[in-house]
Each structure stands twice: as structure tokens, then as C-alpha cells.
Symmetry: C2
Subunit: 203 residues, 2 copies
């Protein structure tokens, strides 16, 4: 139980995460996961009954990660625009440390919609939008932003923060930049994105 020694189960999960996130369920190979984990394939099945089960564990974990608490920011006691800034910055920071996450989640949802019901991600998701929506309405009524459809605004904020990571290969190509420059661009992104959204809301 030392801090260094990791259990076999965790080693497997770590390897599975890598492979599934990079290749997706269908293209992922159990033998590759075993190899990366430094064990053999039989042991994989000993711990997790099948490829499906192993994937479900990973997907549930990552899904939780994906929807992780940005919502607390919306409840914090700062002006609306400041909330937007914090939300966008936090989201970009989160994704930067796991750039494959959005593509992994969205692609699996797309190619296998049944998996969506798993764990409370649905609820967390709708709750987040509802909270956001109420805030927008309140700001409009207080005359602090122009009239705007909360759903559309929600999509715009999400798109502005997540799209660059979803389209990373295409972006690098279009902008003729390498991985280093891309990271740099993403570090400057929160500022640009907040500015854009907030300006667009001014009355």
C-alpha cells in the first residue's frame, strides 16, 4: 500500500484509458491495453470480464470528468460577466490537460447513443444548462445584457471553448502551426473567448 506501488487494477485502467481515448472503442485492441499495462491479455479478462465492461468503466469515469463541476462557478457570488470569464477559463484549462476528452465523449455518444444513460451525466448536464439559463434571463431583466436566446448562447460558449480541441488536427493544418504553437494559442484562448462573448452581450 505504498504511494509508489499501484495496484494492477489501476495500471490496467490507466492503460485502457490511454488506448480507448486515442482510438475509440471499435479501434482499440485488448492486446495493446495489456501490453501497455505490462501484463497479458488473460489478466485483463480476470479483472474486467470483457472489452465492453472495461470500456464502460473508462467511459463512465471520463464522462464524469467531462461534466465535472463548472456549475459551482455559476453559483458563486460574483458578477455575471465574471462568472462567464471564470467558466470559460476553467473549461479551457480542464480540456487543455486532457485534449482528447471532448472528442472521445462526443464521438462515442455519436456512434453509440445508447451509452448516454449511464450514470447521472444527463441530470448534471440539464441542471447545468437550467442554472445558466436562469442567470441569463435574470441579467436581461436587470437590463445588464441584451435580449438573447439562452440556448443559442449556451451553444456558442461551448463551441468557442471546445471546438479548437475537437478540430485540433484540422486547425493545425489550416493555420499551419505545430503542437507547440497550438498550445500557445490555447493558452491565449480564454481571454479572447471571454472578450468575444461578453462584448456580444453588451446592451
Amino acid at each position: 500500500m505504498s504511494a509508489i506501488a499501484v495496484s494492477t487494477e489501476e495500471t490496467i485502467l490507466e492503460a485502457a484509458r490511454k488506448v480507448f481515448m486515442q482510438k475509440g472503442f471499435a479501434a482499440a485492441r485488448m492486446c495493446e491495453i495489456a501490453k501497455i499495462a505490462g501484463i497479458n491479455q488473460a489478466l485483463l479478462h480476470y479483472y474486467f470480464r470483457s472489452k465492453d465492461r472495461l470500456f464502460e468503466v473508462i467511459f463512465a469515469q471520463q464522462s464524469q470528468n467531462f461534466y465535472a463541476n463548472i456549475i459551482s462557478i455559476l453559483h458563486s457570488d460574483v458578477p455575471f460577466f465574471e462568472k462567464l470569464r471564470m467558466m470559460i477559463a476553467k473549461e479551457i484549462e480542464k480540456i487543455s490537460s486532457a485534449p482528447y476528452l471532448p472528442m472521445f465523449i462526443l464521438n462515442e455518444m455519436h456512434s453509440n447513443p445508447e451509452r448516454m444513460q449511464c450514470n447521472g451525466s444527463v441530470d448534471r448536464n440539464t441542471h447545468f444548462f437550467k442554472t445558466f439559463s436562469e442567470l441569463v434571463e435574470k441579467e436581461y431583466e436587470a437590463g445588464r445584457i441584451r435580449k438573447v436566446c439562452p440556448q443559442q448562447l449556451f451553444l456558442s460558449i461551448m463551441g468557442i471553448t471546445m471546438f479548437p480541441f475537437l478540430a485540433q488536427p484540422m486547425i493545425k493544418m489550416a493555420l499551419e502551426i505545430d503542437g507547440k504553437s497550438f498550445e500557445q494559442l490555447m493558452q491565449e484562448r480564454a481571454e479572447h473567448a471571454s472578450e468575444l462573448i461578453i462584448r456580444s452581450l453588451q446592451v
Copy 2:
């Protein structure tokens, strides 16, 4: 050669397009393509040598579709803001008629980056950005928009238009809407997106 009778080759391509676009390369099955095309698997291999080759044809076609000429709009003789409106509207209209296209292209690029070099998509892509970038600079120098990084703006416009389609399953869930409502939302999207972008650029 009647208008009704389609060649076997086209029937296969149509079936392959459906299956590859929905499932991606790895999860797509040759037998499913054959079944949808109403033929047997052997005939698939008679027309297209292998799964890889068949996929390459589909990917090249769709890739061309994906990058299809929005660029002419940038060269047209209308004010910059009008160009943005037209560009966004055209892009959304295009994707609406093929909602799986962005996810298909971006996901395959992500899981198999080598495929990018195919056909002149790289050039078309960089050329588009360069044209866009020059326009932005010119507008700034003329004092008609505020100072803004063209790369960041480019990402924002792309994200605002394409993200809802990439995240369609998640969006429906978060907003608690069905397919019909989603389509409705997308029809109203061009107006919202243009407004948002243009307002954010005002000096």
C-alpha cells in the same frame, strides 16, 4: 442509362457512405454495407479491392464536400460584416443537410492523422484561412472593427457554427429537446451566430 436505374457502383458508394459516416472506419462492417446495398460481400471486393480502398474513396469525396467552396463568398463584393453573415449562413445550411459530416471528418483525422494529406484539402484549407486573415487585418486598419487576433476569430466562427452538430447528442440531452426541436434551433442559429460575432467585433 435511365434516370432511375443506378449503377451498382453508385449503390455501393451510397451504402458505404451511410455506414462509414455513422460508425467511422473501425466500427463499420463490410457485410453491413453489402446488405444495405442489396448485394453480397464478394461483389464489394470486386468493385473496390478492400475496406481501406472503399473508405478512401468515401473519405476523399466527403472531405471535398466538407471544405467545399465557402471561399468565393470571401472574394465577393460586399461589406465585411455581410461576408461573415453569408459565410456563417452558408456553412450552417451545408452542414444541416449532412449533420454527420463534421464528426466523420474530424474524428477520422483524429484517429488516423496520416489520411490528411489526401487530395488538396490542406491547400484549400490554408488558403481559406489566409484570405480570411487578410480581410480581418484590412478591416482593422480601416478602423471598421476592433483589434482582434485573426486566428482566434477564425476558431470562434468555426466553433460557433460547427460545434452544435459535433455535439448533437449531448446538446439534445442538455437542452432536453428532440430531433425536431434541434433542427428548429439550427435554423435559427445562423442569425444568432452572425449577430454574436459581428457585435463582438464592433469598435
